[in-house]
């Protein structure tokens, strides 16, 4: 009996261990082998699932159209996806990427979410010279670091500096005048901003970007508090109590989705911090709206792709189709990281066609020079390209304000900035209390 029980427990342990860290291959052999680094297990698994499903959607669309024509072969080939689960950890990422490169022999990699995880496995990618279209990881270090050869890395996600800078400019251009006007303050009254940032390169990079943007552009924003928190923190009550005591007009958390949801909820519900919260672009995910509920009313989020808002312009039909196709296939709404990975697969396909061969050196050169028309995210010059010094694509970011609909019990965004993309005006709620001056 005892032997059977121990054998059963060992068996269950083996099965559970195998659930994490395995790679999965989709589609038939042949064609371009595209490794997708996705956090299928661990704390970032919500995003990981979105990343993988979006890649599947893109690959299936391309394959359904007959694949990609490769000149040297004189025929069309399919995109074959290989899933690598980074387990939301540095070690898991190294394991998954090593397996995809050495065992699965992938031609190109895409995906990658957390900056910490991506920077850990980048050295493996660099050692093998595999092209890597990174569709997450907002830290600029992923392509700007100098300790490894980053010439095979291509960053298709806005870097922290750009996104924090854009939000800070929005606060100065839109929020400060509106708040000063509503509360009868002189127009040049500085806005009191509290920053609550993750104690990581991501958080510190954003704080630096906020402060340097304020200084460089002479913005009338006063940072009255900058508080840190550990990655993955769930209890922000003391931090928020401290922030409340500083009397901010606006609170800018530099936090992931699973951090911002409890932070904002605790601020409004427990601490009574009745101010407007901002959010970084990487949290624009259906789970964010679901998790916040009514506590997200009137909060602001920076974005480049939203499941529930379609920016005006040439990408509108593409966004609508993508949202519809994704929902039909996976019975869920797509997230931002998935959207970038969806494009990542198309970038790889375009590079393959341009290279005309699956030779890795040719693919690398082709990704560096390929020009892909913008798809579901608004891009500078309406084109996805990695032409700059650091292989970074350039996004048009926009700001959304969230509104709670009591009738449908849903929280949904409306684009409020910039003027070219906006759907409605920024609003200040009746419950809002400005900071003390």
């Amino acid at each position: 009996m005892r032997t059977v029980l121990i054998a059963a427990i060992v068996g269950l342990l083996v099965v559970s261990a195998c659930l994490a860290g395995c790679t999965q291959t989709q589609a038939s052999a042949g064609g371009l082998k595209l490794g997708v680094v996705a956090s299928m297990t661990g704390p970032a698994s919500t995003t990981g699932k979105d990343v993988w499903q979006s890649a599947q959607l893109a690959a299936d669309e391309i394959n359904a159209r007959g694949g990609v024509f490769v000149k040297s072969l004189g025929k069309n080939v399919t995109i074959q996806l290989v899933q690598g689960d980074d387990e939301s950890t540095r070690e898991g990422g190294i394991k998954a990427v090593t397996k995809m490169i050495t065992d699965d022999k992938v031609d190109v990699l895409t995906g990658g979410f957390s900056s910490a995880v991506v920077t850990a496995h980048e050295s493996i990618v660099a050692d093998h010279g595999v092209p890597y279209i990174i569709t997450g990881a907002s830290s600029s270090t992923v392509t700007r670091r100098t300790d490894i050869n980053t010439s095979t890395m291509f960053h298709h996600a806005p870097i922290t500096d750009a996104s924090a800078s854009q939000t800070t400019i929005f606060v100065d251009e839109v929020m400060r005048p509106a708040i000063n006007a509503k509360f009868g303050r002189p127009a040049d009254t500085p806005l009191r901003m509290a920053v609550i940032y993750q104690d990581s390169p991501f958080g510190k990079g954003a704080l630096d970007a906020i402060q340097s943007t304020i200084a460089a552009k002479g913005l009338k924003i006063q940072v009255v508090a900058n508080e840190t928190f550990k990655m993955g923190e769930t209890d922000y009550r003391t931090t928020l109590t401290s922030v409340k005591a500083k009397g901010p007009d606006v609170v800018y958390p530099i936090a992931f989705l699973n951090e911002e949801v409890p932070m904002l909820t605790q601020a409004r519900r427990d601490v009574g911090l009745n101010t407007i919260f901002l959010a970084v672009e990487c949290v624009d995910d259906p789970d964010y709206y679901k998790g916040l509920g009514q506590y997200g009313d009137y909060s602001i989020i920076e974005s480049r792709f939203s499941a529930y808002a379609v920016p005006k312009g040439s990408i509108s039909p593409n966004v609508g189709k993508y949202q519809k196709d994704y929902a039909a296939r996976f019975n869920a709404s797509p997230g931002m990281m998935g959207a970038a990975t969806y494009e990542g697969v198309y970038i790889a396909a375009a590079a393959l066609e341009k290279a005309g061969t699956t030779d890795q050196a040719a693919l690398l050169s082709a990704i560096g020079s390929v020009q892909v028309p913008e798809m579901v995210e608004s891009m500078k010059n309406s084109t996805i390209s990695f032409g700059n010094q650091y292989h970074e694509s350039q996004f048009n970011l926009f700001m959304e304000q969230l509104h709670w609909d009591p009738a449908t019990q849903t929280l949904r965004p409306k684009i409020v900035w910039p003027a070219a993309l906006k759907e409605t005006e920024f609003q200040i709620p009746d419950w809002y209390r400005p900071g003390s001056v």
Binding site: R2, L5, I6, A8, I9, L12, L13, S16, A17, L19, A20, T41, G42, P43, S45, T46, D199, E227, T228, F229, K230, G232, E233, T234, D235, Y236, R237, T238, T239, T241, S242, K244, A245, N258, V261, P262, T265, Q266, R269, D270, V271, G272, D287, G291, G293
Partner: protein, 293 residues
């Protein structure tokens, strides 16, 4: 730096709330260690399972989540008994490394099992009292946290009554003090092991319910950090000492809150271990521990 009294009291209050969760976890760890002399490293995962059981019952019934404590605690009690019977008893008394690696293995088993059953997305629910608060001057007491503190006190009083006023409690204490003597006096120590593990799991389950009703988010991987803190509290308070776990838990909660306010959130976890090191240097057995434990 001038600190408003209301702000100070508010921070102390958040510390007390955090302390409640730690106390329930640490008391469970101590109960199991006291009787079985086994450290269950998967104890945080029992908190996580408690949170998911409450969430599942809430989703199915829509009942007030506080009432679901009455259902979650027995479920975790039975689950704990099953885990002890199926996993720990076969290796009990063998090399200590077997017990350690078994409980580490259980962490992965429970995490992946929970992800398979409930999915790995984070979840949260809203308490029906979420918008209610008691305000005293600038001091704001959300009703949920007042209830959580009261429920924790109630559970601890109930546990003390069980341990001090019942034959079962006497048997548990006897097993904890001297296993061989307890066996010789006719106590079924293997049954006591199961009950102690079940009670420890039930306390973790109660902590899981309180975690959920406070609006905290949870996912299959949320148990590790609270568990590490519970172990630190147990060492701080003294291995096997339930009063030590209570005092240690409260102290940790308040120390973390104070550190977050004064030094920043990055110091929250560090301060707990700094306190632990200082206490162990001065008193190696912990605050309430006895030599030889």
């Amino acid at each position: 730096m001038a600190i408003d009294v209301g702000t100070l009291l508010q921070i102390l209050f958040w510390g007390l709330y955090a302390g409640c969760i730690y106390i329930l976890l640490a008391t469970g760890v101590n109960l199991i260690f006291g009787v079985m002399k086994t450290v269950n490293f998967a104890h945080g995962e029992l908190l996580m399972i408690g949170a998911y059981v409450t969430w599942t019952l809430f989703s199915l019934t829509g009942l007030n989540p506080y009432l679901l404590l009455v259902a979650t605690v027995p479920v975790l009690l039975l689950f704990g008994i099953a885990v002890q019977r199926l996993a720990f008893r076969p290796v009990l008394g063998s090399h200590k490394l077997n017990e350690i690696f078994l409980s580490i293995g259980l962490i992965y088993l429970f995490q992946n099992g929970a992800a398979m059953i409930w999915g790995s997305d984070y979840q949260s629910i809203q308490s029906p009292f979420a918008s209610m608060a008691v305000t005293i001057g600038s001091f704001r007491l959300p009703l949920d946290y007042v209830i959580i503190i009261a429920v924790t006190i109630g559970i601890l009083v109930g546990l003390q009554l069980l341990l001090r006023r019942t034959r079962l409690g006497l048997a548990l204490r006897a097993t904890s003090q001297n296993r061989k003597a307890a066996m010789l006096s006719g106590i079924n120590v293997e049954r006591m092991d199961m009950i102690a593990f079940g009670l420890g799991a039930a306390l973790a389950g109660a902590a899981g319910t309180l975690w959920v009703v406070s609006g905290q988010v949870f996912d299959p991987y949320m148990g590790s950090v609270p568990a590490v803190k519970a172990f630190a509290i147990v060492i701080l308070g003294g291995l096997g000492s339930i009063p030590g776990a209570i005092i240690g838990g409260l102290f940790y909660g308040v120390a973390e809150s104070a550190a977050t306010y004064t030094l920043g959130g990055a110091w929250k976890d560090a301060i707990s271990f700094i306190v632990l090191i200082v206490v162990l240097v001065i008193r190696p057995t912990g605050l309430f521990g006895e030599r030889g434990e």
